[in-house]
Amino acid sequence: MRVLALVVALGVASPLAAQGPPTEPVTFGEGRLVIGGEATATIGPDDPGFFNYSDYAFNALRNLRVHVTTEVRAARHLQFLSEFRLDRSGNVEPFALYARIRPFPDRRFDIQVGRIPPTFGAFARQGYGSGNMLVGTPLAYQYLLSIRPDALPARVDDLLRMRGRGWLSNFPLGNTAPAPGLPMVQSYRLDTGLQVHGVAGMVEWTGAVTSGSLSNPRVTDDNGSRQLAGRVVVRPHASVAFGFSGARGGFLRRELQASLAAGADVADGVQTGVAVDVEYSVGRFLARGEVMRSAWSLPAVPTLRLSDPLTATAAIVEGRYRLWPGVHVAGRVERLDFSTVSSPTRTAEWEAPVDRVELGTGWSVVRNVQVKVSWQRNLRSGGRVRHDTIVAGQLVYWF
Protein backbone atom coordinates (compact mmCIF):
# COMPACT_ATOMS: atom_id res chain seq x y z
CA MET A 1 0.00 0.00 0.00
CA ARG A 2 1.30 3.40 -0.93
CA VAL A 3 1.64 5.79 1.90
CA LEU A 4 1.60 9.38 0.83
CA ALA A 5 4.80 11.19 1.53
CA LEU A 6 3.07 14.41 2.50
CA VAL A 7 3.85 14.97 6.12
CA VAL A 8 2.71 17.53 8.61
CA ALA A 9 4.28 18.16 11.98
CA LEU A 10 1.88 17.65 14.85
CA GLY A 11 3.97 20.01 16.91
CA VAL A 12 3.96 18.23 20.21
CA ALA A 13 5.96 19.65 23.07
CA SER A 14 9.45 18.32 23.29
CA PRO A 15 11.06 16.78 26.35
CA LEU A 16 13.63 19.55 26.15
CA ALA A 17 10.91 22.13 26.42
CA ALA A 18 9.55 20.35 29.45
CA GLN A 19 12.89 20.86 31.18
CA GLY A 20 12.94 24.61 30.56
CA PRO A 21 11.56 27.34 32.79
CA PRO A 22 8.11 26.54 34.15
CA THR A 23 5.11 27.86 32.27
CA GLU A 24 2.61 27.15 35.01
CA PRO A 25 2.66 27.39 38.80
CA VAL A 26 4.67 24.66 40.48
CA THR A 27 2.93 22.51 43.06
CA PHE A 28 4.13 20.30 45.87
CA GLY A 29 2.45 18.11 48.44
CA GLU A 30 -0.66 17.23 46.43
CA GLY A 31 -1.25 20.87 45.62
CA ARG A 32 -0.96 22.13 49.19
CA LEU A 33 1.98 24.32 48.22
CA VAL A 34 1.68 26.36 45.03
CA ILE A 35 4.53 28.54 43.82
CA GLY A 36 4.26 31.14 41.10
CA GLY A 37 6.65 33.82 40.02
CA GLU A 38 7.38 36.72 37.75
CA ALA A 39 10.57 38.30 36.45
CA THR A 40 10.44 41.77 34.95
CA ALA A 41 13.33 43.57 33.28
CA THR A 42 12.61 47.21 32.49
CA ILE A 43 14.98 49.35 30.49
CA GLY A 44 14.69 53.07 29.98
CA PRO A 45 16.89 56.13 29.53
CA ASP A 46 17.82 58.66 32.19
CA ASP A 47 14.86 60.34 33.81
CA PRO A 48 16.32 63.73 34.81
CA GLY A 49 12.91 64.98 35.92
CA PHE A 50 12.46 62.00 38.25
CA PHE A 51 8.99 61.45 36.83
CA ASN A 52 9.23 57.69 37.23
CA TYR A 53 11.13 57.39 40.47
CA SER A 54 9.41 55.48 43.17
CA ASP A 55 12.04 56.58 45.64
CA TYR A 56 15.41 58.28 45.40
CA ALA A 57 17.32 55.16 44.51
CA PHE A 58 15.05 53.61 41.93
CA ASN A 59 13.72 54.60 38.60
CA ALA A 60 10.77 52.29 37.97
CA LEU A 61 11.78 52.28 34.30
CA ARG A 62 15.25 50.94 35.08
CA ASN A 63 14.75 47.90 37.17
CA LEU A 64 15.07 44.16 37.32
CA ARG A 65 12.50 42.66 39.59
CA VAL A 66 11.94 39.04 40.46
CA HIS A 67 9.15 37.98 42.71
CA VAL A 68 8.08 34.61 43.98
CA THR A 69 4.58 34.06 45.28
CA THR A 70 3.65 31.09 47.42
CA GLU A 71 0.31 29.82 48.58
CA VAL A 72 0.18 27.21 51.33
CA ARG A 73 -3.18 25.53 51.73
CA ALA A 74 -2.79 24.49 55.32
CA ALA A 75 -6.41 23.49 55.80
CA ARG A 76 -9.84 24.02 54.30
CA HIS A 77 -10.23 27.13 56.42
CA LEU A 78 -6.67 28.41 56.33
CA GLN A 79 -4.14 29.55 53.73
CA PHE A 80 -0.84 31.33 54.02
CA LEU A 81 0.21 33.62 51.19
CA SER A 82 3.49 35.37 50.65
CA GLU A 83 5.37 37.23 48.00
CA PHE A 84 9.08 37.88 48.20
CA ARG A 85 10.66 40.40 45.88
CA LEU A 86 14.16 41.02 44.70
CA ASP A 87 14.93 44.17 42.77
CA ARG A 88 17.87 46.44 42.02
CA SER A 89 18.53 47.00 45.67
CA GLY A 90 19.75 43.41 45.88
CA ASN A 91 17.60 42.84 48.94
CA VAL A 92 14.96 40.16 49.14
CA GLU A 93 11.96 41.72 50.82
CA PRO A 94 8.62 40.29 51.89
CA PHE A 95 6.16 42.32 49.84
CA ALA A 96 3.21 40.37 51.19
CA LEU A 97 2.92 37.88 54.02
CA TYR A 98 -0.46 37.05 55.44
CA ALA A 99 -2.85 34.36 56.60
CA ARG A 100 -6.22 33.96 54.95
CA ILE A 101 -8.96 32.50 57.09
CA ARG A 102 -12.22 31.34 55.53
CA PRO A 103 -14.52 30.60 58.47
CA PHE A 104 -17.32 29.25 56.26
CA PRO A 105 -15.71 27.26 53.44
CA ASP A 106 -18.81 27.39 51.26
CA ARG A 107 -19.23 31.16 51.52
CA ARG A 108 -17.07 33.80 49.92
CA PHE A 109 -16.08 35.53 53.11
CA ASP A 110 -12.40 35.83 54.09
CA ILE A 111 -10.39 37.32 56.92
CA GLN A 112 -6.79 38.19 56.13
CA VAL A 113 -4.16 39.08 58.71
CA GLY A 114 -0.60 40.25 58.17
CA ARG A 115 0.95 42.27 55.39
CA ILE A 116 -2.25 42.31 53.39
CA PRO A 117 -3.40 43.20 49.85
CA PRO A 118 -4.30 46.81 49.10
CA THR A 119 -7.86 47.79 49.89
CA PHE A 120 -7.94 51.22 48.28
CA GLY A 121 -8.09 51.92 44.56
CA ALA A 122 -8.07 49.76 41.45
CA PHE A 123 -4.61 49.89 39.92
CA ALA A 124 -2.77 48.45 42.91
CA ARG A 125 -4.24 45.05 42.03
CA GLN A 126 -3.09 45.16 38.43
CA GLY A 127 0.55 44.64 39.29
CA TYR A 128 3.86 45.82 37.98
CA GLY A 129 4.58 43.53 35.06
CA SER A 130 2.08 41.17 33.49
CA GLY A 131 -0.98 42.98 34.84
CA ASN A 132 0.09 46.36 33.51
CA MET A 133 -0.89 47.10 29.93
CA LEU A 134 1.96 49.63 29.67
CA VAL A 135 5.42 49.95 31.15
CA GLY A 136 4.99 52.92 33.46
CA THR A 137 3.04 53.03 36.69
CA PRO A 138 0.23 55.61 36.99
CA LEU A 139 1.35 58.85 38.64
CA ALA A 140 -1.09 58.53 41.53
CA TYR A 141 0.51 55.23 42.56
CA GLN A 142 4.15 56.11 42.01
CA TYR A 143 5.01 59.81 41.54
CA LEU A 144 6.73 61.23 44.59
CA LEU A 145 5.26 64.39 46.11
CA SER A 146 7.20 66.69 48.39
CA ILE A 147 5.19 65.77 51.46
CA ARG A 148 7.06 63.60 53.96
CA PRO A 149 6.13 61.53 57.01
CA ASP A 150 9.09 62.74 59.09
CA ALA A 151 9.36 66.43 58.18
CA LEU A 152 7.07 69.42 57.90
CA PRO A 153 7.29 72.86 56.35
CA ALA A 154 7.47 75.73 58.79
CA ARG A 155 6.06 78.21 56.30
CA VAL A 156 4.10 78.04 53.07
CA ASP A 157 7.20 79.19 51.23
CA ASP A 158 9.00 76.05 52.42
CA LEU A 159 6.26 74.07 50.73
CA LEU A 160 6.34 76.07 47.52
CA ARG A 161 10.11 75.79 47.36
CA MET A 162 9.75 72.02 47.07
CA ARG A 163 7.34 72.02 44.13
CA GLY A 164 8.43 69.34 41.69
CA ARG A 165 11.11 68.06 44.03
CA GLY A 166 9.35 65.10 45.60
CA TRP A 167 12.19 62.83 44.66
CA LEU A 168 14.36 64.62 47.23
CA SER A 169 12.56 67.12 49.41
CA ASN A 170 13.49 68.69 52.70
CA PHE A 171 11.70 70.83 55.27
CA PRO A 172 12.89 72.70 58.36
CA LEU A 173 10.76 70.86 60.94
CA GLY A 174 11.62 67.30 61.92
CA ASN A 175 14.17 65.42 59.90
CA THR A 176 15.91 68.15 57.93
CA ALA A 177 17.95 65.77 55.78
CA PRO A 178 16.80 65.56 52.14
CA ALA A 179 14.81 62.39 51.45
CA PRO A 180 12.17 61.13 49.02
CA GLY A 181 8.62 62.28 49.59
CA LEU A 182 5.44 60.23 49.46
CA PRO A 183 3.20 59.27 46.54
CA MET A 184 -0.56 59.69 46.76
CA VAL A 185 -0.91 55.93 47.07
CA GLN A 186 2.09 53.70 47.57
CA SER A 187 1.77 50.63 45.35
CA TYR A 188 5.29 49.28 45.85
CA ARG A 189 4.73 48.38 49.48
CA LEU A 190 1.80 46.78 51.30
CA ASP A 191 0.28 47.76 54.60
CA THR A 192 -0.02 45.57 57.68
CA GLY A 193 -3.19 44.77 59.53
CA LEU A 194 -6.49 42.95 59.29
CA GLN A 195 -8.76 42.78 56.26
CA VAL A 196 -12.21 41.31 55.74
CA HIS A 197 -13.60 40.58 52.31
CA GLY A 198 -16.88 39.24 51.04
CA VAL A 199 -18.83 38.68 47.85
CA ALA A 200 -22.61 38.78 47.69
CA GLY A 201 -24.02 38.52 44.20
CA MET A 202 -22.78 41.38 42.09
CA VAL A 203 -21.29 43.22 45.07
CA GLU A 204 -17.78 42.66 46.42
CA TRP A 205 -16.73 44.49 49.56
CA THR A 206 -13.49 44.86 51.49
CA GLY A 207 -12.65 46.55 54.78
CA ALA A 208 -9.32 46.87 56.53
CA VAL A 209 -7.62 48.24 59.61
CA THR A 210 -3.90 48.81 59.09
CA SER A 211 -0.93 50.47 60.71
CA GLY A 212 0.12 52.83 57.91
CA SER A 213 -1.59 55.16 55.49
CA LEU A 214 -2.24 55.26 51.74
CA SER A 215 0.99 57.16 51.13
CA ASN A 216 3.02 55.36 53.71
CA PRO A 217 2.09 51.70 54.33
CA ARG A 218 3.90 50.30 57.32
CA VAL A 219 4.97 46.97 58.74
CA THR A 220 5.20 48.41 62.24
CA ASP A 221 3.22 51.28 63.62
CA ASP A 222 5.08 54.60 63.92
CA ASN A 223 2.41 56.97 65.18
CA GLY A 224 -0.19 55.10 67.21
CA SER A 225 -2.78 55.77 64.52
CA ARG A 226 -4.77 53.16 62.63
CA GLN A 227 -5.92 53.49 59.04
CA LEU A 228 -9.47 52.47 58.20
CA ALA A 229 -10.01 51.59 54.56
CA GLY A 230 -12.93 50.24 52.58
CA ARG A 231 -13.80 49.37 49.03
CA VAL A 232 -16.98 48.26 47.28
CA VAL A 233 -17.05 46.90 43.74
CA VAL A 234 -20.34 46.47 41.89
CA ARG A 235 -20.53 44.35 38.73
CA PRO A 236 -23.96 44.78 37.20
CA HIS A 237 -22.77 42.94 34.08
CA ALA A 238 -19.69 40.93 33.12
CA SER A 239 -18.54 43.83 30.95
CA VAL A 240 -18.46 46.54 33.58
CA ALA A 241 -17.34 47.08 37.17
CA PHE A 242 -17.67 50.18 39.36
CA GLY A 243 -15.40 50.62 42.35
CA PHE A 244 -15.66 53.00 45.30
CA SER A 245 -12.83 53.34 47.81
CA GLY A 246 -12.11 55.34 50.92
CA ALA A 247 -9.34 55.43 53.52
CA ARG A 248 -8.29 57.53 56.48
CA GLY A 249 -5.18 57.20 58.62
CA GLY A 250 -2.32 59.06 60.29
CA PHE A 251 0.77 59.53 58.15
CA LEU A 252 3.21 61.47 60.33
CA ARG A 253 5.81 59.79 62.50
CA ARG A 254 5.65 60.16 66.26
CA GLU A 255 9.28 61.43 66.39
CA LEU A 256 8.17 64.57 64.59
CA GLN A 257 6.33 65.70 67.72
CA ALA A 258 9.55 66.89 69.35
CA SER A 259 10.02 69.43 66.56
CA LEU A 260 6.54 70.91 66.90
CA ALA A 261 5.53 73.85 69.00
CA ALA A 262 3.10 73.46 71.87
CA GLY A 263 -0.42 72.97 70.61
CA ALA A 264 0.64 71.22 67.42
CA ASP A 265 -0.08 67.52 67.59
CA VAL A 266 1.43 64.97 65.22
CA ALA A 267 -1.82 63.03 65.53
CA ASP A 268 -3.46 65.73 63.42
CA GLY A 269 -1.41 64.61 60.46
CA VAL A 270 -4.09 62.54 58.74
CA GLN A 271 -4.39 61.40 55.14
CA THR A 272 -7.91 60.91 53.79
CA GLY A 273 -8.47 59.41 50.36
CA VAL A 274 -11.53 58.71 48.23
CA ALA A 275 -11.61 57.13 44.79
CA VAL A 276 -14.04 56.05 42.11
CA ASP A 277 -13.04 53.69 39.35
CA VAL A 278 -14.68 51.94 36.43
CA GLU A 279 -13.62 49.12 34.15
CA TYR A 280 -15.31 48.28 30.88
CA SER A 281 -14.36 45.59 28.43
CA VAL A 282 -15.86 44.03 25.36
CA GLY A 283 -14.30 41.88 22.69
CA ARG A 284 -10.66 42.89 22.31
CA PHE A 285 -11.09 46.22 24.03
CA LEU A 286 -10.46 47.00 27.70
CA ALA A 287 -10.74 50.44 29.31
CA ARG A 288 -10.25 51.64 32.86
CA GLY A 289 -10.74 54.98 34.50
CA GLU A 290 -10.02 56.14 38.01
CA VAL A 291 -10.39 59.43 39.82
CA MET A 292 -9.06 59.86 43.32
CA ARG A 293 -8.61 62.65 45.79
CA SER A 294 -6.29 62.67 48.74
CA ALA A 295 -6.17 65.23 51.55
CA TRP A 296 -3.33 65.55 54.05
CA SER A 297 -4.21 67.55 57.13
CA LEU A 298 -1.20 68.92 58.96
CA PRO A 299 -0.61 69.78 62.61
CA ALA A 300 -1.25 73.37 63.60
CA VAL A 301 2.20 74.82 63.00
CA PRO A 302 1.69 78.52 63.89
CA THR A 303 3.92 79.89 61.14
CA LEU A 304 2.45 77.65 58.45
CA ARG A 305 -1.04 79.10 58.68
CA LEU A 306 -2.82 76.52 56.52
CA SER A 307 -6.55 76.65 56.97
CA ASP A 308 -7.28 73.67 54.74
CA PRO A 309 -5.62 70.32 54.20
CA LEU A 310 -3.26 69.90 51.27
CA THR A 311 -5.14 68.04 48.57
CA ALA A 312 -4.18 66.16 45.44
CA THR A 313 -6.50 64.97 42.71
CA ALA A 314 -5.57 62.31 40.19
CA ALA A 315 -7.41 61.26 37.06
CA ILE A 316 -6.37 58.20 35.05
CA VAL A 317 -7.85 56.83 31.84
CA GLU A 318 -6.24 53.86 30.15
CA GLY A 319 -7.24 51.51 27.37
CA ARG A 320 -5.96 48.46 25.55
CA TYR A 321 -6.89 46.97 22.21
CA ARG A 322 -5.66 43.61 21.03
CA LEU A 323 -4.82 43.95 17.36
CA TRP A 324 -3.87 40.35 16.73
CA PRO A 325 -3.40 37.28 18.92
CA GLY A 326 -0.65 38.20 21.37
CA VAL A 327 -0.26 41.80 20.15
CA HIS A 328 -1.88 44.79 21.82
CA VAL A 329 -1.68 48.55 21.75
CA ALA A 330 -2.42 50.61 24.82
CA GLY A 331 -2.56 54.15 26.02
CA ARG A 332 -2.91 56.03 29.28
CA VAL A 333 -3.65 59.69 29.93
CA GLU A 334 -3.40 61.04 33.44
CA ARG A 335 -3.17 64.21 35.47
CA LEU A 336 -2.13 65.08 38.99
CA ASP A 337 -3.50 68.34 40.32
CA PHE A 338 -3.12 70.06 43.67
CA SER A 339 -4.83 72.61 45.89
CA THR A 340 -3.43 76.11 46.09
CA VAL A 341 -1.71 77.70 49.07
CA SER A 342 -0.78 81.32 49.66
CA SER A 343 2.35 82.83 51.09
CA PRO A 344 2.90 86.56 51.57
CA THR A 345 4.58 86.69 48.18
CA ARG A 346 2.72 84.20 45.97
CA THR A 347 -0.22 81.88 45.53
CA ALA A 348 0.26 78.58 43.77
CA GLU A 349 -0.49 74.88 43.91
CA TRP A 350 1.47 73.39 46.81
CA GLU A 351 2.92 70.82 44.35
CA ALA A 352 3.54 71.22 40.65
CA PRO A 353 0.73 69.67 38.57
CA VAL A 354 1.88 66.84 36.31
CA ASP A 355 0.41 65.51 33.09
CA ARG A 356 1.47 62.27 31.47
CA VAL A 357 0.60 60.53 28.24
CA GLU A 358 1.89 57.03 27.67
CA LEU A 359 1.40 55.01 24.51
CA GLY A 360 2.72 51.53 24.02
CA THR A 361 2.49 48.11 22.52
CA GLY A 362 2.99 44.61 23.80
CA TRP A 363 3.80 41.32 22.12
CA SER A 364 3.43 37.94 23.76
CA VAL A 365 6.27 35.84 22.38
CA VAL A 366 4.64 32.88 24.07
CA ARG A 367 1.81 32.96 26.52
CA ASN A 368 3.97 33.75 29.55
CA VAL A 369 6.70 35.87 27.97
CA GLN A 370 5.79 39.37 26.92
CA VAL A 371 7.75 42.26 25.46
CA LYS A 372 6.39 45.77 25.94
CA VAL A 373 7.58 49.08 24.59
CA SER A 374 6.11 52.44 25.48
CA TRP A 375 6.57 56.10 24.77
CA GLN A 376 5.92 58.45 27.65
CA ARG A 377 5.57 62.23 27.67
CA ASN A 378 5.64 64.03 31.02
CA LEU A 379 4.80 67.67 31.59
CA ARG A 380 5.16 69.47 34.92
CA SER A 381 4.44 73.09 35.73
CA GLY A 382 7.27 73.41 38.18
CA GLY A 383 10.58 71.96 39.26
CA ARG A 384 13.97 71.96 37.59
CA VAL A 385 12.93 69.76 34.65
CA ARG A 386 9.55 70.74 33.26
CA HIS A 387 9.09 68.07 30.61
CA ASP A 388 10.59 64.81 29.54
CA THR A 389 9.99 62.24 26.82
CA ILE A 390 10.97 58.68 27.57
CA VAL A 391 10.91 55.46 25.55
CA ALA A 392 11.11 52.35 27.71
CA GLY A 393 11.00 48.61 27.15
CA GLN A 394 10.02 45.78 29.41
CA LEU A 395 10.43 42.01 29.26
CA VAL A 396 8.06 40.03 31.46
CA TYR A 397 8.17 36.32 32.23
CA TRP A 398 5.72 34.67 34.57
CA PHE A 399 4.64 31.25 35.67
Binding site: M1, R2, V3, L4, A5, L6, V7, V8, A9, L10, G11, V12, A13, S14, A18, E24, P25, T27, G31, V34, G36, T69, T70, Q79, L81, S82, E83, F95, Y98, R100, R108, D110, Q112, I116, P117, P118, T119, A124, R125, Q126, Q195, H197, G198, V199, T206, R231, H237, A238, S281, G283, R284, F285, L286, R322, P325, G326, S364, V366, R367, F399
Partner: protein
Protein backbone atom coordinates in the same frame (compact mmCIF):
# COMPACT_ATOMS: atom_id res chain seq x y z
CA UNK B 1 -11.46 -12.93 8.75
CA UNK B 2 -10.98 -11.58 12.18
CA UNK B 3 -7.65 -11.58 13.89
CA UNK B 4 -7.36 -10.52 17.47
CA UNK B 5 -3.98 -10.00 18.96
CA UNK B 6 -3.54 -8.76 22.47
CA UNK B 7 -0.29 -6.91 22.55
CA UNK B 8 1.29 -4.94 25.29
CA UNK B 9 3.57 -2.14 24.21
CA UNK B 10 6.84 -1.83 26.02
CA UNK B 11 7.63 1.30 27.96
CA UNK B 12 9.58 3.38 25.48
CA UNK B 13 9.87 6.71 27.17
CA UNK B 14 9.08 10.01 25.54
CA UNK B 15 9.53 10.33 21.84
CA UNK B 16 11.42 13.01 19.95
CA UNK B 17 10.06 16.49 19.79
CA UNK B 18 8.33 16.73 16.46
CA UNK B 19 6.54 13.73 15.15
CA UNK B 20 5.20 13.69 11.70
CA UNK B 21 1.94 12.31 10.59
CA UNK B 22 1.14 11.48 7.05
CA UNK B 23 -1.63 13.85 6.15
CA UNK B 24 -4.85 12.36 4.91
CA UNK B 25 -7.90 14.11 3.55
CA UNK B 26 -10.82 12.18 4.96
CA UNK B 27 -12.85 13.69 7.70
CA UNK B 28 -14.24 12.11 10.79
CA UNK B 29 -15.06 13.34 14.20
CA UNK B 30 -13.55 12.40 17.49
CA UNK B 31 -15.92 10.61 19.81
CA UNK B 32 -16.39 13.65 21.99
CA UNK B 33 -17.42 15.98 19.20
CA UNK B 34 -20.94 17.10 19.85
CA UNK B 35 -21.91 18.26 16.39
CA UNK B 36 -23.21 15.89 13.71
CA UNK B 37 -20.29 13.87 12.37
CA UNK B 38 -19.10 14.05 8.80
CA UNK B 39 -18.18 10.99 6.74
CA UNK B 40 -16.00 8.64 8.74
CA UNK B 41 -12.98 6.67 7.74
CA UNK B 42 -15.15 3.56 7.65
CA UNK B 43 -17.42 5.22 5.11
CA UNK B 44 -14.56 5.96 2.80
CA UNK B 45 -12.61 2.74 3.02
CA UNK B 46 -13.30 -0.59 1.36
CA UNK B 47 -15.30 -3.16 3.29
CA UNK B 48 -12.14 -5.06 4.04
CA UNK B 49 -10.83 -2.25 6.21
CA UNK B 50 -9.63 -3.22 9.66
CA UNK B 51 -9.44 -1.58 13.04
CA UNK B 52 -7.21 -1.10 16.04
CA UNK B 53 -8.53 -0.91 19.54
CA UNK B 54 -7.23 -1.23 23.02
CA UNK B 55 -6.38 0.76 26.06
CA UNK B 56 -4.01 3.53 26.97
CA UNK B 57 -2.51 2.74 30.34
CA UNK B 58 -1.64 6.12 31.83
CA UNK B 59 0.69 5.39 34.72
CA UNK B 60 1.05 8.94 35.98
CA UNK B 61 -1.94 11.17 35.49
CA UNK B 62 -1.27 14.85 34.90
CA UNK B 63 -2.34 17.33 37.55
CA UNK B 64 -4.71 20.17 36.94
CA UNK B 65 -2.99 23.50 36.54
CA UNK B 66 -3.53 25.42 39.76
CA UNK B 67 -4.56 29.02 39.88
CA UNK B 68 -1.60 31.34 39.72
CA UNK B 69 -1.08 32.40 43.32
CA UNK B 70 -1.62 36.11 43.80
CA UNK B 71 -1.30 38.32 46.83
CA UNK B 72 -3.22 41.25 45.42
CA UNK B 73 -6.71 39.78 45.75
CA UNK B 74 -8.48 40.66 48.97
CA UNK B 75 -10.11 37.24 49.16
CA UNK B 76 -10.05 33.73 47.77
CA UNK B 77 -11.52 33.28 44.30
CA UNK B 78 -14.72 31.40 43.62
CA UNK B 79 -14.45 27.60 43.42
CA UNK B 80 -13.93 26.08 40.00
CA UNK B 81 -14.18 22.68 38.32
CA UNK B 82 -11.09 20.66 37.55
CA UNK B 83 -10.46 19.40 34.01
CA UNK B 84 -10.84 15.72 33.12
CA UNK B 85 -7.22 14.67 32.72
CA UNK B 86 -7.82 10.96 32.13
CA UNK B 87 -8.02 11.15 28.38
CA UNK B 88 -5.31 10.82 25.75
CA UNK B 89 -5.34 10.59 21.98
CA UNK B 90 -4.31 7.56 19.94
CA UNK B 91 -3.59 8.07 16.24
CA UNK B 92 -1.82 6.60 13.25
CA UNK B 93 1.46 8.25 12.42
CA UNK B 94 0.87 7.80 8.70
CA UNK B 95 -2.14 7.06 6.58
CA UNK B 96 -2.94 5.76 3.13
CA UNK B 97 -3.23 8.27 0.33
CA UNK B 98 -6.99 7.80 0.05
CA UNK B 99 -7.36 9.18 3.55
CA UNK B 100 -6.29 12.57 2.25
CA UNK B 101 -9.20 12.91 -0.10
CA UNK B 102 -12.76 14.18 0.16
CA UNK B 103 -12.33 16.26 3.26
CA UNK B 104 -15.62 17.70 4.53
CA UNK B 105 -15.68 20.23 7.35
CA UNK B 106 -17.24 19.23 10.65
CA UNK B 107 -18.15 21.04 13.82
CA UNK B 108 -17.05 20.56 17.43
CA UNK B 109 -17.31 22.46 20.67
CA UNK B 110 -15.33 23.25 23.79
CA UNK B 111 -17.48 24.71 26.53
CA UNK B 112 -16.26 27.15 29.18
CA UNK B 113 -17.85 26.05 32.40
CA UNK B 114 -16.87 26.88 35.98
CA UNK B 115 -13.54 28.25 34.75
CA UNK B 116 -12.72 25.01 32.94
CA UNK B 117 -12.60 24.08 29.27
CA UNK B 118 -14.80 21.04 28.66
CA UNK B 119 -13.52 18.80 27.18
CA UNK B 120 -9.88 19.29 28.07
CA UNK B 121 -8.75 17.39 24.96
CA UNK B 122 -10.41 17.57 21.57
CA UNK B 123 -9.24 15.83 18.39
CA UNK B 124 -10.59 16.96 15.03
CA UNK B 125 -9.70 16.91 11.38
CA UNK B 126 -8.50 19.88 9.40
CA UNK B 127 -11.39 22.15 8.44
CA UNK B 128 -13.41 21.53 11.56
CA UNK B 129 -15.03 24.59 13.10
CA UNK B 130 -14.72 24.61 16.90
CA UNK B 131 -17.27 26.56 18.93
CA UNK B 132 -16.37 28.07 22.30
CA UNK B 133 -19.61 28.83 24.18
CA UNK B 134 -19.30 30.67 27.48
CA UNK B 135 -21.47 28.99 30.12
CA UNK B 136 -20.09 31.02 33.02
CA UNK B 137 -21.48 34.24 34.42
CA UNK B 138 -18.09 35.94 34.07
CA UNK B 139 -16.16 36.95 30.98
CA UNK B 140 -13.75 34.61 29.28
CA UNK B 141 -11.22 35.39 26.54
CA UNK B 142 -10.21 32.33 24.55
CA UNK B 143 -6.96 32.57 22.65
CA UNK B 144 -4.12 30.52 21.23
CA UNK B 145 -0.61 31.43 20.18
CA UNK B 146 0.08 27.98 18.70
CA UNK B 147 1.75 27.74 15.32
CA UNK B 148 -1.07 25.54 14.06
CA UNK B 149 -3.65 28.24 14.81
CA UNK B 150 -3.28 31.69 16.31
CA UNK B 151 -6.50 33.33 17.36
CA UNK B 152 -7.98 35.63 19.99
CA UNK B 153 -11.74 35.59 20.42
CA UNK B 154 -11.81 38.57 22.76
CA UNK B 155 -14.01 38.86 25.82
CA UNK B 156 -17.58 37.70 25.65
CA UNK B 157 -20.23 37.07 28.24
CA UNK B 158 -22.40 34.21 29.36
CA UNK B 159 -24.61 32.64 26.72
CA UNK B 160 -22.46 33.89 23.85
CA UNK B 161 -20.31 31.69 21.65
CA UNK B 162 -17.53 32.31 19.15
CA UNK B 163 -15.90 29.86 16.79
CA UNK B 164 -12.61 29.14 15.07
CA UNK B 165 -11.88 27.03 12.00
CA UNK B 166 -8.93 24.70 12.42
CA UNK B 167 -7.30 24.95 9.03
CA UNK B 168 -3.92 23.40 9.67
CA UNK B 169 -2.75 20.15 11.26
CA UNK B 170 -0.98 20.36 14.58
CA UNK B 171 -1.54 20.87 18.28
CA UNK B 172 -3.45 23.97 19.28
CA UNK B 173 -3.02 24.94 22.90
CA UNK B 174 -6.02 26.96 24.05
CA UNK B 175 -6.02 29.36 27.01
CA UNK B 176 -8.16 32.00 28.64
CA UNK B 177 -6.55 35.43 28.86
CA UNK B 178 -8.45 36.25 32.05
CA UNK B 179 -8.10 32.91 33.90
CA UNK B 180 -4.56 31.62 33.45
CA UNK B 181 -5.39 28.20 34.93
CA UNK B 182 -7.79 27.44 32.06
CA UNK B 183 -6.23 25.43 29.25
CA UNK B 184 -7.21 22.83 26.67
CA UNK B 185 -5.67 20.95 23.77
CA UNK B 186 -7.03 20.62 20.26
CA UNK B 187 -5.23 18.05 18.09
CA UNK B 188 -5.90 18.75 14.44
CA UNK B 189 -5.26 15.85 12.08
CA UNK B 190 -5.13 15.65 8.33
CA UNK B 191 -6.49 12.11 8.39
CA UNK B 192 -9.35 10.48 10.25
CA UNK B 193 -7.41 7.70 11.99
CA UNK B 194 -7.44 8.86 15.59
CA UNK B 195 -9.54 8.54 18.71
CA UNK B 196 -9.77 10.30 22.05
CA UNK B 197 -9.71 7.70 24.81
CA UNK B 198 -12.57 7.36 27.24
CA UNK B 199 -12.14 7.85 30.96
CA UNK B 200 -10.77 4.29 31.26
CA UNK B 201 -8.26 4.84 28.50
CA UNK B 202 -10.08 2.75 25.90
CA UNK B 203 -9.85 3.68 22.23
CA UNK B 204 -10.92 2.31 18.84
CA UNK B 205 -9.96 3.42 15.34
CA UNK B 206 -12.01 1.93 12.52
CA UNK B 207 -11.76 1.88 8.77
CA UNK B 208 -8.02 1.29 8.51
CA UNK B 209 -6.90 -0.28 5.22
CA UNK B 210 -4.77 -3.39 5.66
CA UNK B 211 -1.13 -2.60 6.21
CA UNK B 212 1.55 -1.88 8.75
CA UNK B 213 1.28 1.32 10.76
CA UNK B 214 2.81 3.05 13.70
CA UNK B 215 0.24 3.82 16.36
CA UNK B 216 1.09 6.83 18.51
CA UNK B 217 -0.19 7.69 21.95
CA UNK B 218 -0.43 11.35 22.92
CA UNK B 219 -1.04 12.50 26.46
CA UNK B 220 -0.79 15.84 28.24
CA UNK B 221 1.01 17.75 25.53
CA UNK B 222 3.39 15.09 24.26
CA UNK B 223 3.44 11.95 22.16
CA UNK B 224 4.69 9.52 24.75
CA UNK B 225 4.42 6.01 23.33
CA UNK B 226 4.19 4.27 19.99
CA UNK B 227 3.82 0.79 18.58
CA UNK B 228 4.08 -0.75 15.13
CA UNK B 229 1.02 -2.82 14.25
CA UNK B 230 -0.04 -4.76 11.19
CA UNK B 231 -3.72 -4.46 10.45
CA UNK B 232 -5.05 -7.37 8.41
CA UNK B 233 -7.77 -6.92 5.79
CA UNK B 234 -11.08 -6.94 7.63
CA UNK B 235 -9.30 -7.76 10.86
CA UNK B 236 -8.86 -6.10 14.19
CA UNK B 237 -5.80 -5.60 16.34
CA UNK B 238 -6.11 -5.08 20.04
CA UNK B 239 -3.29 -3.96 22.27
CA UNK B 240 -2.39 -1.84 25.22
CA UNK B 241 -0.07 1.15 25.18
CA UNK B 242 1.62 2.25 28.32
CA UNK B 243 2.26 5.92 28.98
CA UNK B 244 4.98 6.08 31.59
Amino acid sequence: MRMLAMLRAPVRGRLPALHVIAAAALVSQAAIVAAPPGPTAADAQPAAAGAVQGRLDIRRQARAVPRRPTVSDPGAPAPRDLPDLRRGVVYLESAPSRAFEDRAPGRAAIDQRNETFVPHVLAVTVGTVVDFPNSDTTYHNVFSLSRAKRFDLGRYASGKSKSVRMDRAGVVRVFCDIHSHMSAFILVFNHPFFDVTDADGRFRIDGIPAGTYTVMAWYDGETRASRAVTVPAGGEVEFELTVP
